[in-house]
């Protein structure tokens, strides 16, 4: 079943995520993807995640279609102007890619080429708008296309923004994104289900499917790093202690993920699991959570 069909069916959707590496080696990643092929509805392919130069998301998304996985092609506005973005989108469709996740993208200073010139001519909202135009058969300039795509556009939202202004801005932007055509949202990693529930209350009635983000906590160090460096992610201290106390860290991490999946079942339309290399653990999580 495609992601689109899965979302329309009303079932609790599961997506995962892979990040292409630096270099041309794709075999290894494809093996990881194969493990979860039967268990997830789609797999995101990140676009130069954290502004680190890597293999492109279009190519890897295409490889996923080859092995029968429905890819979510992530596109950021950091590295391409509107010509390149539109052209890439058409190319992606031609290569069999049907889902696009529109992102603004991290600033180059965050990555391994910190002096690279950022583009940001469009942003996530205007990119969604452009996808809508392409779907309708015209480009940004209003020229007609010969053969048009029919992308399923998605976007992201950060429910854990750390102050009222930031959260208001996120929600307002979410509305704008829906206006611009976003059909589904994948959220930033969530650890605090109560806060997430409050967020879901505020966006009740929004016309889009929401998949709660889950980042597997691989270690105490990683949790602390995210608290310090990743905007909008907050791992509560008890969870950190839980991993610290556990003999088998992986098991503790899986337990936490299971609880989050279970909690989200009643709150939103699916989950988006960011396993960061622990793709092999996803089936176990889904089994335990009863999915």
């Amino acid at each position: 079943m495609s992601l689109k069909a899965a979302l329309e069916s009303g079932k609790f959707v599961v997506t995962a995520e892979v990040a292409p590496g630096k270099g041309t080696d794709v075999e290894h990643l494809l093996e990881d993807a194969a493990v979860i092929k039967e268990r997830v509805d789609a797999v995101n392919v990140t676009d130069l995640q954290s502004s680190v130069m890597r293999l492109g998301s279009m190519a890897f998304s295409h490889f996923l279609t080859d092995v029968g996985i429905d890819p979510v092609y992530q596109v950021t506005c950091r590295d391409r102007n509107c010509l390149a973005l539109q052209s890439d989108l058409l190319s992606a469709w031609a290569l069999g890619i049907k889902n696009v996740l529109a992102l603004t993208g991290d600033h180059p200073t965050m990555g391994d080429h910190p002096k690279a010139r950022p583009v940001f001519e469009l942003d996530s909202v205007s990119l969604l708008d452009v996808i809508g135009k392409l779907n309708s058969g015209v480009d940004m300039a209003g020229n007609e296309l010969k053969g048009k795509p029919d992308f399923l556009p998605g976007a992201v939202v950060n429910p854990g923004a750390d102050n009222e202004a930031a959260l208001d801005l996120q929600i307002m932007k979410m509305e704008t994104k829906i206006k611009a055509g976003a059909k589904f949202f994948q959220t930033q990693g969530v650890y605090d289900l109560d806060a997430f529930e409050k967020f879901m209350k505020r966006v009740e009635g929004f016309d889009a499917k929401i998949l709660g983000g889950i980042i597997l906590l691989k270690s105490v160090g990683m949790a602390r790093f995210m608290n310090k460096n990743v905007a909008g992610v907050f791992v509560p201290e008890p969870l950190i202690q839980e991993i610290k106390a556990a003999e088998n860290k992986a098991e503790a991490s899986i337990n936490i993920a299971v609880r989050l999946v279970e909690g989200m079942k009643d709150l939103c339309h699916g989950v988006h699991i960011m396993a960061l290399g622990w793709e092999s653990k996803i089936p176990q999580i889904l089994d335990t959570a009863g999915l």
Partner: protein, 218 residues
């Protein structure tokens, strides 16, 4: 500094030319800085055993040919190179007026901004040609948001600061607060905005101000 010293390496008679306009006001290229730079160049060259002659002058406005011309004409033949402490516009005015002279830039013009306090300047305008300040509470997202976003904040801010630097407030959160004060938060819920990046015209003409006969409009 090293760049400047390399630039002028081949020359033995240097005219350090300040500008009495913007670069004076922002303490980058007025009479004082001209004196400092000329002294530093002399010191450097003396140290290297290749003494150099410097001339110091300040034009009223270096982007105005009428202001540059008399000074350079007066000093003609006394220098081999003009080291301009004006913005890029000033350097190019000199270069264009005297195509046979070397005109070198002593400053890297960074931005158009304003003085927060004496010694602190902030970038406030990119001369982007499509001003949006009316709907952003008077805060420019083009210059003050690291990504120049047009449709609200990205997810990268933490504690109100930009992902690029902890010293840099998230412009969109500032816009949010400003609009809230002005009771104009609904501006943030507008249709998706695509920033119009007009081709820089390179030239602006106001016929009404130009010399010459008016063209008849029938």
């Amino acid at each position: 500094m090293e760049e400047i010293l390399t630039m002028v390496e081949e020359f033995d008679r240097i005219l350090v030319l300040g500008c009495g306009g913007c670069t004076t006001v922002c303490c980058a290229g007025g009479a004082r800085e001209v004196e400092t730079l000329a002294t530093l160049i002399r010191m450097d060259r003396k140290q290297k055993g290749k003494p150099v002659e410097t001339l110091e002058a300040v034009t009223e406005l270096q982007c105005e040919p009428e202001s540059v011309k008399p000074i350079l004409e007066k000093l003609a033949n006394q220098y081999d190179v003009v080291l301009s402490m004006a913005c890029g516009a000033g350097v190019q005015t000199v270069a264009q007026l005297f195509p046979n002279h070397n005109a070198l830039p002593a400053l890297n013009t960074l931005f158009t901004g304003r003085a927060e306090e004496h010694g602190v300047w902030t970038e406030n305008c990119l001369a982007c040609g499509d001003c949006v300040l009316w709907r952003t509470g008077g805060i420019c997202p083009v210059t003050r948001c690291a990504k120049s976003l047009m449709n609200g904040a990205c997810g990268g801010a933490s504690e109100g600061k930009c992902e690029v630097s902890k010293d840099r407030p998230c412009a969109w959160q500032e816009i949010y607060h400003a609009l809230k004060r002005l009771d104009k938060l609904h501006y943030l819920k507008q249709e998706p905005q695509v920033k119009d990046w007009p081709v820089h015209p390179g030239k602006v003409v106001r016929e009404d101000l130009r010399e010459g006969e008016a063209t008849r409009v029938d």
